[in-house]
């Protein structure tokens, strides 16, 4: 694929031009298997002239026929590639809700694939018309199942991301944990906004392994997955009293290590963050999650009150 082709494929809302890459849209009978893909990817310069919606619809229909009537997988793959800009465009509408944009594109792509696979040639509708609600539906379903457990305004999510950075900068600079007022000043926010943003971080259920630790989506940033790496030797050298403590079997090594540092070694969250190489806010979340696991595990051994109804849960 040429550089120009790459630019166009990645250009959202440039749908009409994409199928127009076809220099010639052959009839179903005149093309051998795989020929459609080759034809459709050729000659981008020539397509701009005189190629419009009709051509794109013809190409769609041609590829859909190739796939549904002849089982041409390449035609299917080409349809997916052609309509990825539509997926990106729709995913972008939901990008402010705290999920990683690339994750949303992947989820939307599943909706696109379902639309292509289920497309009924006899109904005479355009693929775009059929695919759009499928893609949006898949993304909405994803949000229903994952992500923020409560709706957090975009401004607070962005402040939360900024705070993560600011905390990481201020701790080494001040050689101590910053105060709320210091965070507010550094993040160009009020103390009330800082407190509210910190509170919103508790509403987040999941963290994408592809997301950068500071929550940004820049391609140059390392993802959390890059920080997981190999086993930390210190995880194995913690005292027996920790590893033998009730409920600890339910925790992974890193969770046990962090609880050990906090509750037996007496390190602060900032100190733990520095030692483990993750953010203070992430340490805070891990401690909370680990203690909750312990509570559930140890609680099973006791006989507490009956569980509260689900609407009590935050």
């Amino acid at each position: 694929m040429t550089g120009r082709d790459e630019r166009r494929v990645n250009d959202p809302l440039d749908l009409e031009s994409l199928p127009g890459q076809a220099r010639h849209v052959p009839d179903d009978d005149e093309e051998e298997e795989g020929g459609g893909a080759e034809t459709a990817s050729a000659g981008p310069a020539a397509d701009r002239e005189g190629r419009g919606k009709d051509d794109s619809e013809k190409l769609d229909q041609y590829l859909l026929r190739r796939y549904h009537l002849h089982g041409d997988r390449k035609a299917r793959e080409q349809l997916i590639t052609m309509y990825l800009p539509l997926v990106r465009s729709l995913a972008r509408r939901y990008a402010s809700r705290g999920e990683h944009f690339d994750d949303l594109v992947q989820v939307g792509a599943i909706g696109l694939i379902k639309a292509i696979d289920r497309f009924d040639l006899s109904r005479g509708v355009e693929l775009t018309t059929y695919a759009t609600p499928n893609i949006v539906g898949e993304i909405k379903r994803y949000f229903r199942d994952k992500g923020w457990s409560v709706r957090v305004p975009r401004g607070l999510q962005e402040l939360n991301i900024r705070l993560n950075k600011v905390i990481d900068e201020l701790v080494p600079k001040l050689q101590r944990s910053p105060t709320i007022n210091e965070l507010a000043e550094a993040a160009n926010a009020t103390p009330e906004e800082v407190l509210e943003a910190l509170e919103t971080s508790q509403a987040y259920n999941s963290v994408s392994l592809q997301a950068s630790p500071n929550g940004e989506s820049g391609e140059e940033d390392a993802g959390l997955i890059d920080y997981l790496g190999g086993e930390e030797e210190a995880y194995d050298t913690m005292e027996d009293r920790t590893t033998l403590a009730p409920g600890f079997a339910k925790l992974d090594k890193r969770e046990r290590y962090i609880l050990h540092l906090r509750f037996f070694e007496g390190l602060t969250q900032s100190q733990i963050a520095e030692r483990v190489g993750i953010s203070q806010m992430h340490v805070s979340r891990l401690i909370r999650r680990s203690l909750e696991k312990l509570r559930e595990e140890i609680g099973d051994l006791d006989t507490p009150m009956p569980p509260r109804s689900s609407d009590d849960e935050r």
């Binding site: 905390i167 101590r176 944990s177 910053p178 105060t179 709320i180 007022n181 210091e182 965070l183 103390p191 009330e192 800082v194 407190l195 509210e196 910190l198 509170e199 508790q202 009293r241 920790t242 033998l244 403590a245 009730p246 409920g247 609880l259 906090r262 509750f263 007496g266 602060t268 969250q269 900032s270 203070q280 805070s284 401690i287 909370r288 203690l291 312990l294 509570r295 140890i298 609680g299 006791d302 507490p304 009150m305 509260r308 009590d312 849960e313 935050r314």
Partner: protein, 130 residues
């Protein structure tokens, strides 16, 4: 005269957010560090979460008293013997409620109040802050 803030919120986990916001506001005014505040949030959450496990409550009553550079949080009125035991006694190597509270705050006390009792936790500002 020491400043005192009284709260009564529904006995649900979701309502703990309101308590954290109030604690955060007062703590920020006292120049508590983020670590101190997060410890205070966690200690309060664990205590009140345990209370919700062991007590049948309609509401949670919490009062916050500002005393110089420390915050004193009083939660109650509780009646559960199990909760009282969890707050006061640690069975050794377990990271239980008692251990968690002891590590996160400076003082934990149980105050009898007739047939019931209150749990009082105190968090002092770490002097290296600000």
């Amino acid at each position: 005269m020491a400043e005192r803030i009284s709260l009564e919120v529904p006995a649900t986990l979701g309502a703990l957010s309101t308590i954290r916001i109030v604690l955060g506001g007062v703590g920020a005014r006292l120049d508590f560090s983020l670590d101190d505040l997060d410890d205070l949030f966690l200690a309060t959450d664990r205590l009140l979460g345990a209370a919700l496990d062991w007590e049948e409550l309609d509401s949670l009553r919490v009062s916050v008293q500002v005393d110089g550079s420390s915050l004193q949080i009083t939660a109650g009125r509780f009646g559960s013997a199990q909760l009282r035991e969890q707050v006061a006694v640690t069975p050794g190597n377990c990271i239980d409620l008692c251990t968690v509270l002891a590590r996160l705050v400076d003082d934990v006390a149980v105050q009898d109040d007739g047939e019931c009792y209150n749990v009082v936790i105190t968090k002092q500002r770490t002097e290296s802050a600000a």
